[in-house]
């Protein structure tokens, strides 16, 4: 495979993109936010069922590329059962992982970060980083109760 492509399209990513987990609107959701990428027209909606500080359920609906679908799918699996603070911390570390110069995430590596590391291949594809982070921005906006759509621009 050509340079970087095997890092970008790892089997775990292709699997999530072909068989996204937690896909489709959630009836129990009490928070939701939509993310748009105006560059490519991709859209994602994240649905959260939040009870106090606890995220009981997380689902998403999306039209997008393999990277954005896989990232959203993995995200919903991970934040389900976490607290709001934990989910936000995970977003921060994920953002560092895919978007920072060093590619180093702060804090201890844990099971979540090990799995998210499969998305770190986007670092070699600057135009695709927004694909990986779109659902996370929407999740963060849903937690903040933002009314406006989230945009990557």
């Amino acid at each position: 495979m050509s340079t970087g492509l095997s890092d970008l399209y790892q089997e775990v990513i292709l699997d999530h993109s072909r068989h996204p987990r937690n896909f489709g609107a959630a009836e129990s959701a009490n928070r939701q936010a939509r993310g748009n990428n105006p560059l490519c027209g991709d859209r994602v909606t994240v649905y959260l069922a939040v009870d106090g500080h606890h995220i009981n359920d997380a689902r998403f609906d999306a039209r997008g590329c393999a990277i954005s679908i896989a990232s959203a799918s993995m995200m919903t699996e991970m934040i389900k059962g976490k607290t709001v603070a934990q989910a936000k911390s995970l977003f921060d570390r994920f953002h560092m992982l895919v978007a920072s110069e060093s590619g180093e995430a702060n804090g201890d590596s844990d099971e979540d970060m090990t799995e998210l590391a499969s998305l770190s291949g986007v670092r070699a594809f600057p135009t695709r980083i927004k694909c990986a982070t779109l659902a996370w921005h929407a999740m963060s906006a849903a937690l903040d109760g933002a009314d406006d759509d989230v945009k990557t621009e």
């Binding site: 495979m1 050509s2 340079t3 970087g4 492509l5 970008l8 399209y9 292709l14 072909r18 560059l39 490519c40 027209g41 991709d42 859209r43 039209r63 997008g64 590329c65 393999a66 990277i67 594809f125 135009t127 695709r128 694909c131």
Partner: protein, 413 residues
């Protein structure tokens, strides 16, 4: 338009005129299929910019000194080259703008302010570029005008019956593309204009994608306004042309105020310069204008018919070769089309396709191509668009097909 592929067109020599084409990307030869977004530049154009700044540069139309006169002469010679290229009746009808986008905004604003009333109707089509939608929405908001949309059929052709039905007593303006940037459809512009004029309605033609591929004669089309960008015509970015019939331009108020566009200025009353300068406030993109003239000299030197024959051959070959891929579906299959191969693959998003093709050295555009309404029409978010320029080859089409094979390998489809 279709001609035999044996027409003499020395493609290897032509390719040597474009320095960037010899670049390698990711250690692979660059196969550039994104000319519809912006075309590459021949050495002649690059040299024209260098030559201007090295030998004949100063501000234009004002200085009495030698260099100013030389720059003015070169710029006005380019205006004449452009006039002749589109067969405008007069150089006064050639207005320099930043690009087609600014040209459409100028007409929407200046013509629209004067002529649109609440309930006036502006006819656009479903396959317009955002730059031929949003300026009209802006002026519609200010004037109370209404936008009407001509639908397109499954092949991507304008529904001409629907267009005729939309033309009515309230129609104030028709603004349509000559060639769709997303689909490659050539619209029957002479007929569109004829039908509009039968009702006394003026027509603006977005010629961005037509001008690099088709001979354009604004008088034969009887277009009232015709806009295009220099950078898609192998010229520099930041320079474009608005053609308008003199009587219409004369009647319109200026677009921007400033230097160059005035006759006399006092705080009591300012009078405006004659055409074309009335619409050219501020110092223009002098080197850009001159180099656009050079770009036109370059392509007319190659021969417009030869270029069209070469590009039609590549379009036919590409349609045939890509058509062999089972999971590939073309978006835009008009009987009359040019230079655009827009498609989707089952189960692989265009963005992922674009990334994989890129690593094979193949530059394509992926996305909605600033034409979201036509994407909605086909219920898709995006397509892959391989657009053809005069320098592309059959071998590059083969590279594209092979690279699409890599996509299928990676995605296992």
């Amino acid at each position: 338009m279709k001609m035999a592929s044996s027409v003499a067109f020395d493609i290897e020599r032509v390719r040597r005129d474009f320095p960037i084409l010899s670049q390698q990307v990711y250690d692979k030869p660059l196969a550039y299929f994104d000319s519809a977004a912006s075309a590459q530049k021949p050495t002649a154009v690059i040299e024209a910019i260098k030559h201007t700044y090295e030998t004949e540069y100063a501000n234009v139309h004002r200085g009495v000194h030698y260099m100013s006169q030389k720059a003015t002469d070169a710029m006005e010679a380019a205006r004449e080259t452009i006039r002749a290229f589109i067969n405008a009746a007069s150089e006064r009808e050639i207005i320099f703008v930043r690009g087609a986008t600014e040209g459409i905004n100028l007409v929407a604003d200046c013509w629209g302010r004067q002529n649109l009333k609440p309930g006036s109707e502006i006819i656009l089509s479903q396959m317009e570029h955002h730059s031929n939608i949003v300026p009209w929405q802006l002026i519609a908001e200010r004037t109370g005008a209404i936008i009407k949309v001509v639908p397109v059929n499954d092949a991507g052709e304008l529904e001409m019956d629907a267009y005729e039905d939309l033309l009515g007593d309230r129609t104030a303006m028709v603004s349509l593309t000559h060639v769709s940037n997303a689909l490659g459809t050539i619209t029957p512009m002479a007929e569109i204009v004829r039908l509009a004029h039968a009702r006394g309605v003026p027509v603006l033609v977005d010629g961005c994608q037509a001008i690099p591929h088709l001979p354009v004669d604004v008088q034969a089309l009887d277009a009232d306004f015709y806009v295009f960008s220099g950078h898609k015509l192998y010229g520099p970015s930041g320079i474009g042309v608005l053609y308008g019939k003199e009587a219409l331009l004369d009647a319109m108020p200026p677009y921007q105020g400033g230097g160059e566009m005035i006759d006399l200025v006092s705080f009591e009353k300012t009078t405006y310069a004659d055409l074309p300068f009335k619409f050219e406030a501020g110092t223009p993109h002098i080197a850009g204008v001159i180099a656009l003239g050079t770009a036109i000299d370059y392509i007319t030197g190659l021969g417009l018919e030869k270029i069209a024959a070469h590009e039609d051959d590549l379009l036919a070959y590409g349609t045939e070769q890509l058509g062999k891929i089972n999971s590939l579906r073309f978006v835009g299959t008009a009987a009359d089309k040019t230079a655009i191969l827009s498609f989707v693959l089952d189960d692989v998003h265009p963005h992922d396709i674009g990334t994989i093709l890129d690593r094979e050295g193949v530059a394509v555009r992926t996305g909605h191509h600033c034409a979201q309404p036509i994407m909605e029409r086909y219920d898709i978010a995006a397509t892959v668009r391989a657009s053809i320029g005069l320098y592309n080859t059959r071998e590059e089409i083969d590279v594209l097909v092979t690279a699409l094979g890599r996509v299928q390998e990676i995605f296992g489809s």
